[in-house]
């Protein structure tokens, strides 16, 4: 059985109550979701974020929501993202936007010059905490400065908000050109159901048909049940964060360079650029970033303690005993 530490998933399944809510939803699957159910979800998500229901647009996954934003707002704009980027919408963006511009992230500081490279209208999409560094790379001041230009729309994916505990939500009411994306995929453990949502500033609200929500009933029911269990989620997050720091210490001791992270994953640099391959042969999958970024850099999702034990044993084995061409 493969230990998958490559996809930033929550290693723990949601509670029985959430699972039962999803099953109840399945029982009514011959019927479409009714507007009342969707309104309940939008209301609950709005309360969770501390904003009005009218700003909430839920959808089946962040990728879907980003595509909706692109379809409505990309024309004539330059899309600015960081490199590496894990956005499934980039191919669509290249078709819809004026151009797609990546800003190269450079270790070890990962400092970004947020002076907009775009000369005209732009859409900036970034993650906070950033994927794959796990660090919050844009300061409040830098963001406010970007938002001063009304032609520059900014969408921040806060998928890791629960782990980092940092948000720009309070900027939403006063900044029409800002939107945030949140998800129940990570801390709430609903990755298999894909429930994400946008919190829209006024410009996003106007452009997106916010009443048009695409979600299935099991996802809506599970999401509502999960949002009632925030205390348990916070406990889970606390455990993941503690485990992250334990793993960071272990991997550093074994000889990997481990970067500070505020997310549910760690960015590491290995002296062996084939670490991903060697781990895969031992049944452990981590994300190899060398296809679009620097060789020897990997992202490791936080898993269960026993998975980390297996990872540490394998890494130790590889770094101490594996031979190859690395001389």
């Amino acid at each position: 059985m493969l230990i998958d530490l490559s996809s930033n998933e929550n290693p723990y399944a949601p509670s029985r109550k959430v699972t039962e809510a999803a099953i109840q939803g399945l029982k009514g699957m011959n019927r479409y979701v009714v507007p009342e159910e969707l309104h309940m979800l939008r209301k609950a998500l709005g309360e969770y974020c501390g904003v009005g229901t009218e700003r909430i647009l839920p959808g089946p996954g962040t990728g879907y929501l980003l595509e909706r934003v692109l379809c409505s707002l990309a024309a004539g704009r330059e899309l600015v993202v960081l490199n590496p980027a894990f956005l499934s919408c980039l191919e669509l963006a290249a078709r819809l936007c004026k151009r797609v511009v990546r800003l190269q992230l450079k270790p070890p500081s990962f400092k970004v010059d947020w002076t907009p490279p775009a000369s005209g209208p732009a859409l900036v999409i970034l993650e906070s905490p950033n994927n794959p560094t796990g660090q919050c790379l844009i300061s409040r001041e830098a963001l406010k400065s970007l938002l001063k230009n009304e032609d520059c729309l900014v969408l921040i994916d806060e998928a890791g908000y629960e782990y980092a505990g940092k948000t720009f939500m309070d900027l939403i009411p006063d900044h029409p050109n800002l939107a945030l994306c949140r998800t129940l995929d990570k801390a709430f453990g609903l990755a298999g159901l894909r429930v994400s949502w946008l919190v829209c500033g006024d410009s996003f609200m106007k452009a997106l048909h916010i009443e048009n929500v695409c979600l299935c009933r099991p996802a809506v029911r599970a999401a509502l049940a999960a949002l009632e269990e925030q205390r348990a989620v916070l406990e889970n997050v606390k455990g993941v964060v503690e485990e992250r720091e334990r793993l960071k210490a272990v991997l550093s001791q074994l000889g990997l360079e481990v970067f500070p992270s505020e997310a549910n994953y760690l960015l590491v640099r290995s002296p062996r650029p084939d670490l991903g391959l060697l781990l895969r042969k031992r049944g452990i999958l981590i994300a190899d970033l060398s296809g679009q970024w620097f060789s020897g850099y990997f992202r490791i999702s936080i898993g269960r303690p026993e998975e980390h034990q297996a990872l540490a044993t394998a890494v130790e084995d590889i770094l101490r005993t594996e031979e190859g061409f690395m001389d």
Partner: protein, 364 residues
């Protein structure tokens, strides 16, 4: 059964242990005098010991050129070609040529940059290769990074491919502790990166490299201006541009295009300057050298500081694929004229797809 070629350069790497920095040009005899022992065969045996697939049938070079490595491994094989007591680049080329005639689908070879160039001369882009490093100079990106990586390429061969650069390292300069490298060509290599993608990371890899080069070419051609001379540097990325225009490209040289037609081929600095004098409006398109990121001063010295000074940074365009440029800290320029190098420095967009760019910093 899959017919695979296996070639060992038995003298590769012998210069390194005795401080000769290479065995090009018959220096291996001196290496032997100094006590060097062959090691490339061991490398190949190490790789073969990790190969698990059973559907391979090998065609190999005689004796030390491959046969000795396969004996006792359990793999079926047949020897092709003949060699004398001492092997040469000509032997490598002749054996590989014979293997291609016999219809191999994959060529596995062990050697250094020199061997890689010999192999490339024969295989081109038609047959995928797995390059096992055992030379003194192994700067080409085509080389597998480990025995496991090479074995994994063999084990999963047939699923996905990518293109990797082979460099021409000046051995004389290398002995003088200077690294002078220029692109020599590109080979097709099995892509094992796709094996390491998790469930949601499909977007982390940039699809097929060849398709991406076509995208790069498409946007360049679409935006070509009338009566502007386009000077095209070396490399397959820019060959895609001439392909899109239906023109022929000097793969390792500098060509010039104006109004969709070839203005000059394989141009030197003097010819470029006279073209500039004639046409006045000029744009220069180059691609960075993999690994080092040089855009000027290595590999395309014909585009000299004088040529660059005339064109100016605003008329320099850089094109690449993300798998190459995304692994670079910065782009570099070293024309020998510091003032010109400085004028090129700073941020520059690199075209990496159709309407896709990455902002890189140029350093001198």
């Amino acid at each position: 059964m899959i017919k695979a070629g296996l070639v060992v350069n038995p003298i590769a790497g012998m210069g390194g242990n005795v401080g000769l920095k290479g065995t090009d040009g018959g220096l291996f005899r001196k290496a032997i005098e100094l006590g060097a022992r062959p090691s490339s065969g061991e490398r190949m045996r190490e790789v073969l010991s990790l190969v698990t697939r059973k559907d391979l049938y090998f065609l190999c070079g005689p004796g030390a050129m491959g046969e000795d490595c396969l004996k006792g491994t359990g793999f079926e094989f047949r020897v092709v070609g003949k060699i004398g007591a001492e092997t040469s680049a000509q032997d490598t080329k002749a054996v590989v040529r014979e293997m291609l005639r016999e219809g191999i689908r994959l060529l596995i070879f062990v050697g250094g940059d020199g061997t890689a160039r010999d192999v490339l001369d024969v295989v081109g882009l038609d047959t995928p290769v797995i390059a096992v490093p055992a030379g003194v100079k192994m700067f080409s990106a085509a080389f597998a990074i480990s025995a496991h990586a090479a074995a994994e390429m063999i084990n999963t061969f047939g699923q996905a491919f990518t293109e990797k650069e082979i460099l021409d390292i000046d051995e004389e300069a290398f002995r003088d502790n200077r690294l002078v490298a220029k692109p020599y060509g590109v080979v097709k290599v099995p892509d094992i990166q796709h094996l390491l993608q998790g469930k949601k990371t499909g977007s982390a890899v940039q699809g097929d490299v060849v398709d991406k080069k076509k995208e790069v070419a498409r946007i360049i051609v679409e935006n070509m201006l009338e009566d502007v001379l386009y000077i095209l540097g070396p490399g397959t990325t820019l060959k895609a541009v001439t392909d899109a225009l239906g023109l022929e490209k000097t793969l390792l040289g500098i060509d010039a295009v104006i109004n969709g037609k070839l203005a000059g081929k394989d141009l030197n600095e003097k010819q470029l300057l006279s073209f500039i004098e004639k046409y006045r409006k000029v744009k220069i398109i180059v691609t960075p050298i993999g690994g080092s990121g040089y855009i000027f001063g290595r590999g395309s010295r014909q585009i000299s500081s004088k040529v660059l000074a005339f064109a100016g940074k605003e008329n320099v365009m850089v094109a690449s694929t993300l798998d190459k440029v995304g692994g670079l800290d910065c782009l570099r320029v070293d024309t020998g004229d510091y003032e010109v190098d400085r004028s090129i420095s700073g941020k520059i967009p690199v075209i990496i797809g159709y309407k896709e760019e990455i902002i890189m910093e140029v350093k001198c």
